[in-house]
């Protein structure tokens, strides 16, 4: 979107996501950009960040250049503090030990609901997607950061199917459904940083990435998106990009 930018869209996602993670947090990360961003934050400003992987890994330190193909292979366990069964690592979410869930998204709607199950009708889908994995549990039980490409077909008024609940129908509907905790915190895209209105729970633009206009965001969003005193993010620094490229030298997740 910007001119002369020296980073890919995925690199921008990883850097911008890493910045909103704090030292000392416990972050439940999915594979891909979330894993990469959490690892990047660990290397930059959050050495005491604890990463959890749904394969059953607590506090690993992923080795540069050896990113795992999913969160369930031995590469995820490098220098971990603890390994535990899948069910038990997911129960840490229910018990409340996790600060942030962090994952990618295929389709999201105005209220932050995510769909990774069906495009089209459930009984006769146009595309059967891979499904929830840990996504439903993570988004049901903790505060969420979602990172995804900003495209009109991905940012829709209402998802075809709620795989991972955001604020459901907005307002208090999430809590009313039996989910009194958690909910969408941020959506990080290659265009902007997005948050949610504390009352209506509608998605809104909080900051634009360098060189991006509000109109561009609106053009690439499938619903009328609000904004709230929009700021501009700082571009990725050389340090952020160089550390990131050491982590993923083959650009498996940042192509």
């Amino acid at each position: 979107m910007t001119e002369r930018k020296n980073y890919t869209a995925s690199e921008l996602l990883a850097v911008m996501s890493a910045r909103i993670l704090h030292d000392g947090q416990v972050v439940f990360a999915g594979v891909g950009v979330p894993l990469l961003a959490a690892t990047l934050a660990q290397r930059l400003h959050a050495p005491g960040l604890t990463i959890l992987f749904e394969g059953g890994v607590l506090g690993p330190f992923v080795v540069p250049g050896q990113l795992p193909p999913s969160t369930n292979e031995q590469r995820c366990t490098r220098r971990a503090n603890m390994l535990l069964p899948i069910t038990d690592v997911l129960l840490l979410l229910q018990r409340g030990y996790v600060d942030v869930g962090f994952m990618g998204g295929a389709q999201i709607d105005k209220f932050g609901n995510l769909n990774s199950s069906y495009i089209g009708d459930v009984d006769n889908p146009k595309i059967r997607l891979p499904g929830t994995g840990g996504g439903n549990d993570i988004s049901s039980l903790t505060q969420m950061i979602v990172t995804m490409k900003h495209e009109k077909r991905r940012f829709v008024e209402k998802v075809d199917f709620i795989t991972s609940p955001g604020f459901i129908d907005g307002g208090t509907s999430r809590a009313d459904s039996g989910l009194p905790t958690g909910g969408m915190f941020k959506v990080v895209t290659d265009l902007a940083m997005l948050g949610f209105d504390p009352q209506t729970r509608e998605m809104m633009v909080e900051a634009l990435h360098p060189g991006v206009t509000l109109q561009q965001v609106r053009d690439n969003t499938g619903f009328a998106i609000k904004e709230n005193g929009v700021e501009t993010t700082m571009p990725p620094t050389d340090r952020e990009l160089s550390v990131l490229r050491v982590l993923d030298p083959e650009r498996i997740y940042t192509a």
Binding site: V31, G32, E54, G55, G56, V57, P69, S70, N72, E73, Q74, R75, C76, T77, R78, R79, L83, L84, P85, I86, T87, L90, L91, L93, Q94, N115, S117, Y118, V122, N124, P125, K126, I127, R128, L129, P130, G131, T132, G133, G134, G135, N136, D137, S140, L141, F161, I162, T163, S164, P165, I168, S173, R174, S177, G178, L179, P180, I252, Y253
Partner: protein, 318 residues
Amino acid sequence: MVKPYQKLREETTARDRSLREKVMSLEEAASMVHDGDQVALGGCTMSRTPIAMIWALIRAGRKDLTVSRSIVSTEGDLLYASGVSKHIVTSWFSQGIVWGISKVMRHYTESGAAKFEEWSHMSMGLRYRAGAMGVPFMPTRSMLGSGVRDVIGDAVQDMTCPFTGEKLLLLPALNPDVALIHVPRADEYGNAHLDGLQFMDIDIAMAAKRVILTTERIISNDQIRRTPDLTKIPFFTVDAVVEVPFGSAPHECYGLYEPFFPHLDAYAKATTRDPVAGVTDYLDRYYREPKTWADYLSLLGMGEMLDAARRGRSIYND
């Protein structure tokens, strides 16, 4: 859907739970899985997948299995395409995020030829755990308010907690007919170790009516008794022990070998180009034509095996 308690107890009582040798061949073990069985697979995604047992079941022409697993990778494609299963129960199904969405899964599910029943990841685990504990359900605070819960419908129950008044979801226990679990080491009685990631394997073993272990190697019961806190699956839950080196190849077995990446890249490429022809050719070449498990491994190739093993063992290098 939930097995009545007296039936569960009668079935368990009827099992021979004595300390007895139960080593057998892949083919003999495959005969303990019957058409129509509910079969749980151990491991997750590309880790400790019981590939050798799946290989034997496909070769034996087993059919109509309902297969459940935490997360399903390439073995799901092969189960659909071979006709062994038309019904897979899992939280996620595709080869792996770096290879994109499985075109084979899409072909079979979008055409209605096969069913992909979706539960949340933790729900899969809690269903096995309830089965392992001998209770009919496990309460949870997940899946509420989602489409996943809606599609499942009456198979789960809403509940108001009698202690706190909170909304809860009750997940039905899952007690599989058979569990297929691949482990690094087991003794001839079925006492098994697991290294590194355990996934849902302990609960699966405890919940199932029959358990078939494939193991990288068989160790002595004396070894087991020297470090009893390393035993993760107790012998009396196990009905068959099969020694199968590289029994998860081309997937990984913790500390022994990582995935055979070039092989998996080639599989992804072939099935993306043409899902049906790609998977059919793959089944013929790797599952039907080899005469033995060693022949199958030969087809994967010595070079790939050595590289996968080098990477696998490297987890202990630090």
